[in-house]
């Protein structure tokens, strides 16, 4: 049998050799198989990235309940405690005079953009320099940008694997400078869903509006 009426018509007009007909039949089947495979991949892709976002989609369980931290009030704190909100996480340290203030200033602006949706989002800076960053200093530092931001740090045994979860590391560098040492750390912003999934990452240079736009899309989809 033939799948395409057009082919049947063609057959009536000029009958083809048996071998050609067979080839056409195969071609038709291959085309259908191709379309089906395409549709399958399209659908599976759509399932993985339900909405289009500006950030780089990751979609990986972050196991945030495994890493005990200390918050800026010196209390035990797990990122998984914030399971009712989207977490905007980044790693830094308070003696970081350029990259971290740049990121925090960016987050302050993006957070302000969210307006009525702010309650669904928590910005957290985790310091990877616990030796210098006492909780009180951390509090002063993050609150200098926004009063709702959380500062946290922890012991190396928890910090190292936490940073590794997000594909990074941190390393102390002795430099010939009055700052004595500086910390190499991830510069990306990590977005975590309320279910604890590492949803996306944002790599500098950060364009204004993209994070708040993504959060708005994701929150509205969730609350609909």
């Amino acid at each position: 049998m033939c799948y395409f009426p057009a082919l049947s018509v063609k057959r009536k007009i000029s009958p083809m050799k048996q071998v050609n007909k067979k080839w056409l039949k195969y071609l038709g089947q291959i085309a259908i198989a191709g379309i089906l495979v395409g549709v399958y991949f399209f659908l599976s892709q759509a399932e993985e990235t339900p909405v289009n976002i500006h950030g780089t989609y990751v979609g990986k369980n972050a196991n945030l309940d495994k890493y005990e931290l200390i918050d800026h009030d010196n209390k035990p704190f797990y990122l998984s405690d914030l399971d009712d909100r989207w977490i905007v996480l980044f790693f830094g340290f308070t003696h970081c005079p350029d990259v971290c203030p740049t990121t925090l200033a960016y987050l302050k602006r993006e957070f302000a953009e969210l307006k009525e949706l702010q309650k669904y989002v928590q910005v957290v800076m985790v310091s990877v320099d616990p030796k210098r960053d006492r909780p009180s200093e951390l509090k002063n530092y993050v609150k200098g940008f926004d009063n709702t931001f959380i500062g946290a740090t922890g012991r190396e045994v928890n910090l190292k694997p936490l940073v590794k979860t997000f594909g990074g590391f941190y390393h102390y560098h002795q430099i010939d400078s009055a700052v004595e040492y500086t910390v190499e750390h991830p510069g990306d912003i990590f977005l975590i869903s309320p279910t604890g999934e590492w949803h996306a990452l944002y790599r500098p240079p950060l364009e204004y509006g993209i994070l708040s736009d993504d959060l708005r899309t994701l929150i509205l989809r969730m609350t609909l």
């Binding site: 005079p97 350029d98 990259v99 740049t102 530092y141 200098g144 009055a178 750390h185 510069g187 500098p204």
Partner: protein, 146 residues
């Protein structure tokens, strides 16, 4: 004596000409858009950013910076590499002839360390930048958020 006198005259003439030449073609750099990031009570460090242009015909470099507002002032660079960031002190920042170098967040910056008091939005901090060729240039950096 006459020979020595002649030599002296020549030397004076030579010096006058060379000095005259060098001052007529003195290397200058111009700066603009200088700003410093404000700090909170207790914060000891911040960054200063600006554009430095070398309109001359010979290369120059920024070799040091000082500010009365801080104990130490250094030239630093933030480097991004595959999602990781680190900062390093640089000995000199080259400003090639005819080029403009922009010191900006996430890149080159002047770091003020050991701030004597917090920098508040609307204030101005005075910095002295020393260039290898152009010498000392004073810059007023406006304290503001980006």
């Amino acid at each position: 004596m006459r020979i020595i006198g002649n030599l002296t005259t020549k030397a004076v003439l030579f010096l006058t000409l060379t000095l005259g030449y060098s001052s007529a073609y003195a290397v200058v750099v111009s700066t603009k858009n200088a700003w410093a990031r404000p700090t909170r009570e207790g914060a000891k460090m911040t960054g200063v950013f600006l554009d430095i242009t070398n309109p001359g015909k010979s290369d120059d470099s920024l070799v040091s910076a000082t500010c009365e507002c801080a104990e130490v002032t250094e030239i630093h660079e933030s480097m991004h590499n595959h999602g990781m960031v680190k900062m390093q002190r640089i000995a000199a920042l080259d400003i090639k002839a005819g080029e403009t170098v922009t010191l900006k967040p996430g890149s080159f910056h002047i770091m003020l360390m050991g701030l004597k008091k917090p920098l508040k939005v609307g204030e101005t901090v005075k910095l002295q930048l020393t260039f290898k060729q152009a010498g000392v240039v004073t810059v007023d950096a406006k304290v503001k958020t980006q």
